[in-house]
């Protein structure tokens, strides 16, 4: 498993750049990923999406469906794509430290 080092922290990531374990997540991870995800500056709204994803994952053990994410955050899908250009799965979930989305994606 490849390792990346950023601001003194070491992360194990898979070939798509997802963190190996949700427990290893820390705010530096978000900072590290944001560039490869095409995000210049992290705003309050980015963090709101990340926190909603993390809270839902901690409570339910799965990532929320897109409709739940939009309902809870109040951001329409179009706006979530503006925040995270790769989308809620590849972008937001990766930054939130959730497992990589599976299924016929």
């Amino acid at each position: 498993m490849p390792q990346v080092e950023y601001k003194g922290k070491v992360f194990d990531v898979d070939e798509d750049g997802f963190i190996d374990s949700f427990d290893k997540w820390c705010p530096e991870w978000v900072d590290y990923v944001k560039e490869s995800e095409g995000i210049q500056e992290l705003t309050e709204e980015h963090w709101k999406v990340i926190h909603v994803l993390q809270d839902y994952y901690k409570k339910h053990g799965i990532a929320p469906m897109v409709r739940i994410l939009t309902k809870v955050t109040g951001f329409k899908l179009k706006y979530i794509y503006e925040l995270f250009p790769s989308g809620p799965g590849k972008g937001a979930c990766k930054m939130a430290g959730l497992p990589k989305p599976t299924g016929c994606v």
Partner: protein, 366 residues
């Protein structure tokens, strides 16, 4: 405007869709669009469509391996440039169709195609075995139980004679899917080749918690064989082996439950499906052979079994009768008798609505 990795949204073009289909119409198709009067099959692989205006369009259909290199596509383009004014089309079964608007151009095109060895075999029209709709197999997918391209090549080699001829009672559609996700058309084909597993997945307990969303894994199981389980201080799952029917859905959702197995995996053959509404309603294909081992690179048992089914059908069915219609007329017991296939307990449906597939009548042939 080269792609700038530092500003990925700069000059980004999106939501433009595919190019409009009629940009690529040959002029004689565009002129006669919606005005076709009738068509004829002149010989296997060659069609003519006649328009109300009197215009004629000749189509030559050739087989293709679906998985193809750019070199091959360039050769297709070269033929299209030479004979068809640069126009060519692909069919829904991944055959290639070259069209010309004049009879004098037809024979040179056919001669050219034939001169290229077996790269462009003509056929696939009428009551034939046309191209096999198939999937990725070991070329690209991570959930297959069998290969796709290899088996398709072996089967088409054996049935090649039926591709370029019209000697069957009706068209026979063969398709292949390398796992029971059934990408493609296996559930509705005259003969379907399907990859199956025979062993439950292996649970990598140390990875499940990290790479899987456990509730999704549990919900993915059609027989409810999976339940959550703690292994040490890690969350994982437990699979009830007596309830598992090896569908592999849980591996699709969770990379820590690999199921592929060299000895266990193999092929099931299904028969009797169709999608058209002609004569009888569309049908699902039904199980004919529950398991044949993987035998790369030529899969001789599968090939011979399919050939046997096609030959028995060809000699026994009435004209226009698809395989499913033929079987329903003679009865499944006769189908197994005539083809010599073994009827086993795996053939008897035992999933939810199974009761509707059992025989609730005394009508039966000994």
């Amino acid at each position: 405007m080269p792609f700038d990795p530092n500003d990925i949204m700069k000059d980004r073009i999106t939501d433009i869709g595919p190019p409009k289909y009629d940009n690529f119409f040959p002029p004689y198709i565009k002129e006669n669009y919606g005005k076709w009067k009738y068509h004829e099959i002149l010989e296997p692989g060659v069609l003519v469509h006649v328009a109300e205006t009197g215009a004629e369009v000749y189509t030559v259909r050739t087989g293709a391996p679906r998985l193809m290199s750019v070199d091959y596509i360039r050769e297709v383009c070269e033929i299209a440039d030479k004979h068809c004014g640069g126009y060519v089309r692909w069919t829904t079964r991944n055959n290639i169709e070259f069209m010309v608007d004049d009879k004098s151009k037809l024979q040179p095109l056919i001669d050219d195609l034939r001169s290229r060895g077996n790269w462009f075999p003509m056929g696939g029209t009428g009551a034939s075995v046309t191209n096999i709709v198939h999937t990725q197999g070991w070329v690209h997918c991570h959930t297959p139980a069998i290969d796709a391209s290899g088996i398709v090549k072996s089967v088409m080699d054996e049935l090649f004679d039926y591709f370029g001829s019209h000697k069957l009672p009706a068209q026979v559609r063969i398709s292949l899917a390398c796992c029971l996700n059934m990408c493609g058309a296996v559930h509705c084909s005259d003969i379907a080749i399907l990859g199956v597993h025979r062993k439950p997945p292996f649970v990598e307990h140390d990875r499940v918690q990290n790479v899987c969303e456990i509730p999704l894994v549990i919900a993915a199981c059609p027989t409810a064989a999976i339940k959550p389980k703690k292994v040490g201080d890690r969350k994982s799952v437990e699979i009830n082996q007596n309830r598992c029917m090896f569908c592999g859905n849980c591996y699709t959702m969770c990379p820590a439950l690999p199921i592929a197995d060299g000895d266990g995996d193999g092929i099931a053959l299904w028969v009797g499906g169709k999608v058209s509404n002609s004569r009888t309603a569309p049908k699902f294909s039904k199980l004919a052979v529950p398991y044949i081992p993987n035998e790369p690179p030529r899969w001789p048992t599968v090939v011979q079994t399919i050939k046997k089914i096609v030959e028995v059908y060809a000699s026994d069915a009435r004209r226009y009768e698809r395989i499913g219609e033929w079987i329903e007329r003679i009865g499944w017991e006769r189908f197994f008798e005539k083809t010599g296939l073994e009827f086993r307990h795996e053939h008897i449906d035992d999933y939810r609505l199974a009761m509707t597939t059992w025989r609730t009548t005394t009508q039966f042939k000994f």
